[in-house]
């Protein structure tokens, strides 16, 4: 009889708190959005499932959750903590970038290099949000990690948080992925606000064809320049460009296929699941609740939305600014693609432009600031690492 009671004490039912129930519902909503609304399913689905798993309560002492390591006092490193190590050690994001690089075509950027400026301009969202986070009372390291949400790039956000503010990794990652999924809702109103109907109808000249040689040189140039400017961006930019070189070289198909397929998928599953499982509703470290359901998370979600908006503003306004000097005007809408959120924000641009001129295809042009934004936010992360490490 005692035994049954002891077992019941170890069940989740006995330890369930309201916070856990809320988080389990949040996890279910994420899964719903992933499956029914098709919002970033490759990420939101395992994240949502991870949120459920991470909020099944269990009696203290069992080595089950992502935070149960020998270092934190558990009798052994739990399985989930070993998976989570791939996140906190910062190794999954660069490996994911390796895979993304092996699948990304940078032609658009190569054929029209001046559009990288838009990708740079959108990163203003990162730095203004960093200031905003300081304003709300976050520490320097936390503020930098929160600011990077404005980079609209999951692996970059996770990488920077893992290096600077691992305790906020869960909310930062989830905010980043959520807003990336919501880009089609966030950006259009801002586009409408900042552009005139005439601007939206600007058509752009078809881009010239890029040679294989240029495509091969691109990753080498980018890694040298970006890393010389901001060595801290090496893990991200280095791996992204290695993947791209494997793809474009034409002699290592075998490697680029595996990088962009098996390796990417394995890392995606494990990273997303572990990030989800790190969102325990309440969690006490030295008596302080560092769980997911705290004011800090609320602040992070607010700042995340803010940073996506600022980034969109930045990209759009800078495109208009560039038009002051350019003979051949660019369509300022493509500035909004500078936030990254590859390739969603580029698709939003295309979709929005076609509402006003249904034969205006901007997707290819929007890809240039789109991928430049990825490099830009990796450099921004590198700057933060250089300053704060």
């Amino acid at each position: 009889m005692d035994m049954i009671i002891q077992i019941i004490r170890t069940t989740g039912f006995a330890n369930l708190e309201w916070g856990n129930i809320i988080m389990i519902i949040v996890g279910c909503i994420a899964i719903y959005l992933a499956i029914v609304k098709k919002y970033e399913p490759l990420l939101l689905l395992p994240i949502g499932f991870g949120v459920i798993v991470g909020n099944i309560p269990y009696i203290q002492g069992l080595p089950l959750g992502v935070y149960d390591t020998i270092a934190s006092g558990a009798p052994q490193n739990s399985v989930f903590s070993l998976i989570y190590f791939g996140v906190t050690s910062g190794i999954f994001p660069p490996l994911i970038f390796l895979g993304i690089g092996a699948m990304t075509d940078f032609s658009s950027l190569i054929s029209n290099p001046k559009l990288v400026l838009l990708g740079a301009a959108a990163q203003i969202g990162i730095f203004i949000t960093y200031l905003g986070a300081l304003l709300l009372g976050f520490t320097n390291l936390e503020a930098a990690s929160i600011g990077i949400i404005g980079g609209a790039d999951g692996p970059t956000s996770i990488f920077l948080s893992s290096q600077l503010a691992p305790h906020l990794l869960g909310p930062i990652a989830i905010a980043a992925y959520s807003y990336m999924a919501l880009v089609p809702l966030i950006q259009p109103p801002i586009m409408k606000l900042l552009t005139t109907a005439k601007e939206r109808k600007i058509r752009m000249k078809p881009a010239r064809k890029v040679t294989q040689r240029e495509k091969i040189l691109f990753p080498i140039i980018v890694v040298i320049v970006a890393a010389l400017i901001a060595p801290g961006s090496l893990p991200l930019v280095g791996m992204l460009m290695l993947g791209n070189l494997l793809k474009e070289s034409g002699v290592t198909d075998r490697l680029s296929k595996t990088a962009g397929n098996s390796l990417l998928n394995i890392c995606t599953i494990l990273l997303s699941f572990a990030v989800g499982a790190s969102t325990q509703a309440t969690r006490y470290v030295d008596g302080v609740n560092v769980g997911f359901l705290t004011q800090k998370s609320l602040g992070i979600f607010f700042l995340g939305l803010f940073s996506f908006s600022i980034a969109t503003f930045g990209g759009l306004l800078f495109a208009k600014f560039m038009n002051l000097f350019l003979k051949e005007k660019i369509n300022p809408l493509i500035g909004a693609a500078g936030v990254s959120a590859v390739p969603d924000s580029a698709r939003v641009v295309q979709h929005f432009a076609r509402l006003y001129d249904k034969d205006n295809y901007l997707l290819f042009h929007a890809m240039a600031p789109n991928v430049a934004g990825v490099i830009g936010s990796a450099i921004a992360a590198g700057v933060f690492i250089a300053i704060f490490r």
Binding site: L42, I110, L117, I126, L135, I375
Partner: protein, 122 residues
């Protein structure tokens, strides 16, 4: 909490940060641009002397070895296209595209080499 910004040297950091981002990307753009110019020039010089043999190498080996009538090619291409759509398409499109069907540079996914021009005729 404006003092939190001041204490942490926030404005300086933010300003320096955005400058470095711009510097980095501009430098990349300039370098790419210069290389493009350089190779263009080089290309124009070499063009007069010899026809480029590279495209032939890139072509799949099919042409060299299998002589086929147009109808056969259509049948084969259909089979391949059909097979491809069943097994690869969903996969492919889900990687990068979530809300649409339209063709694009991003989606073109030439890395799998699956897009034969001939299938487009169907």
């Amino acid at each position: 909490m404006i003092e939190n910004i001041l204490q942490n040297d926030g404005l300086n950091i933010a300003l320096s940060g955005i400058i470095v981002v711009f510097a980095g990307l501009i430098l990349i753009a300039v370098t790419i641009h210069l290389f493009n110019k350089f190779f263009e020039k080089l290309h124009r010089q070499t063009e007069r002397q010899t026809a480029p043999p590279k495209p032939a190498e890139k072509q799949p080996i099919i042409k060299k070895t299998i002589p086929l009538t147009d109808e056969e090619l259509v049948v084969i291409a259909t089979a391949i296209e059909c097979y491809r759509r069943i097994h690869f398409e969903t996969l492919q499109s889900q990687i990068t595209f979530k809300h649409g069907e339209q063709q694009s540079a991003w989606k073109s996914g030439q890395r799998f080499g699956q897009r034969l021009t001939i299938t487009r005729k169907l």
